[in-house]
Every structure is written in C-alpha cells, then in structure tokens.
Symmetry: C2
Amino acid sequence: MTQAFDVLGSPVRRRILELLAERSRTSGEIVEAIQRELDISQPGVSQHLSVLRESGFATSRAEGPRRVYELGAVPFGEVEAWLDRFRGAWGERLDALATEVARGKRERRLQRAKEPVRRRA
Amino acid sequence: MTQAFDVLGSPVRRRILELLAERSRTSGEIVEAIQRELDISQPGVSQHLSVLRESGFATSRAEGPRRVYELGAVPFGEVEAWLDRFRGAWGERLDALATEVARGKRERRLQRAKEPVRRRA
DNA sequence: GCTTAATATAAGCGATAACTTATATGATGC
DNA sequence: GCATCATATAAGTTATCGCTTATATTAAGC
C-alpha cells in the first residue's frame, strides 16, 4: 500500500495513468505524448513504465515488437481502501464539502454515459 | 492537486493522517507517536506537520501553549476527484475485482454496524 | 543471418527532499 | 519580567529519485 502512493507521487506517472485511463496504448504512443507534453527522453518514460508495471498500476503484453500497456486495478483498490478511513473521519467531524463535490461528480458521470468530447483539465 | 499526491507520498505524513483520522491531537502527541514508531526527531515531525498544514490536509489551532491538529477535508476531495476517472476506466475494461473489494468493504461497513468480530485477510 | 525498429536496461549525475542539530518564538506561571 | 514548556524555524548534510546518454534485447522483414 505504501508503494501505491509512492508511485502516484510522480506527476509524470500520474499523467501516464491518465492516458491509460482513456485507452490502452503502446509504449511508443506513451513516449510520444509524454515527450511532447513534458519533454522527457524515451528511456526516462520507459523507466516510469517499469515502475507502473512493478507496482501493478499497469500491465503490459507484447504485440509484435511493441508493448501494449493498460491499467491495472489492484493498487487503485489499495488506495481506495486507505482513503476509506478518512471518509469515516469526515462524516464524524467535518462537513466535508470537498468530498461531496467529488462524489457528486462521480454520480453524475455514471448517469450521462455518452457526451461530446471531453476537454483536458 | 499535484500537490496532494506529493504530500501523500511520504509514509510519515500518511501515518500522521491516520492518527488524525482517529481524533484530533496536539503536536506533542503526534511527535510522541511518530518518534516511538518511526524514530524521527521533534523538528522532523514538525516539518511534516507544516507540510500538512500548508497543503490543507491538516489544520491547527492554538490551545494555550499547544497546537491542536485536525484533519482538513479539501485535499482529500481533490484526490477523490482525480481517482474518479479511473473508476470509470475500471468499469470499461477491467473486471476490477480489487476495486469491488474496496467498495464492498465500504458498503458493508455502512450496513452491518453490529456483527461478530471480523478476521483480517 | 543481417538490418532496422521498438523497447528496455545500465551507468552516472544533479536536484530535491527528508533528516539532523541548533536556535528562535510564544504562551504560562511564578 | 524571567524561567519553562511546547512548538516552530534555520542551516547544513545525506540519501534518494528522476533524469540523461549509451547500450543491450527482442522481434520482423528482407
């Protein structure tokens, strides 16, 4: 569990996860995007991918000479589990407006399902 | 938001947040606990508290000569919001067993309230 | 089997974060 | 106002992390 947050501590890795949340991608596609956005070399990106693989945030399979990456669920579950104790704490002693904002957004997203293009944050 | 994950990247800070999730504590109480568990000096702990304050994960008020710390909700909400996009991704392309474990646990906790002792996994 | 393409690993280096010790600040009690 | 307790800040050092360049690995196509 400790691991999971260490992995999410890097903005580059978070960005890669965002890309993978949209769809699976090859190493090359990820390298291209990260290089464009954050100007990091191919080996630099590859090292981050390695961290994501080893921590379970991403899995990879060979497809010809390329490697296709996709999201792994387990560590996200661990993060959720850790956050659980704070959800309790909010209810007890905070009005937790920020939480409700976040949860409201989640609920809403489930309800729409098909909407026009999503802008990046 | 980037900030929030940087803050959670430290195991010491995560431990402090766990302590604060149980109840509000004075700086001294936190120092004592962290010193015992992780062998870190008073200034070391104080610096972590400073990070938690500045990021909004904790707030502090003076109470006589001591400072009482308690949890702040906002950054947790930001973390939730970021995680939202991955909840969607799980539904789309993963069976997400780990997620369901985590969510199931949360739901179940709300429903039981009084049950025999639960064994740890 | 050699070349090329796609990706990963190795080695080294610089920045940053997380400690330490020493000291300042600020409230309390006499 | 001075001593004391509780906490924070300052300054300096070390370890870790995230990058870079260089090179190894693996698959495909000819």
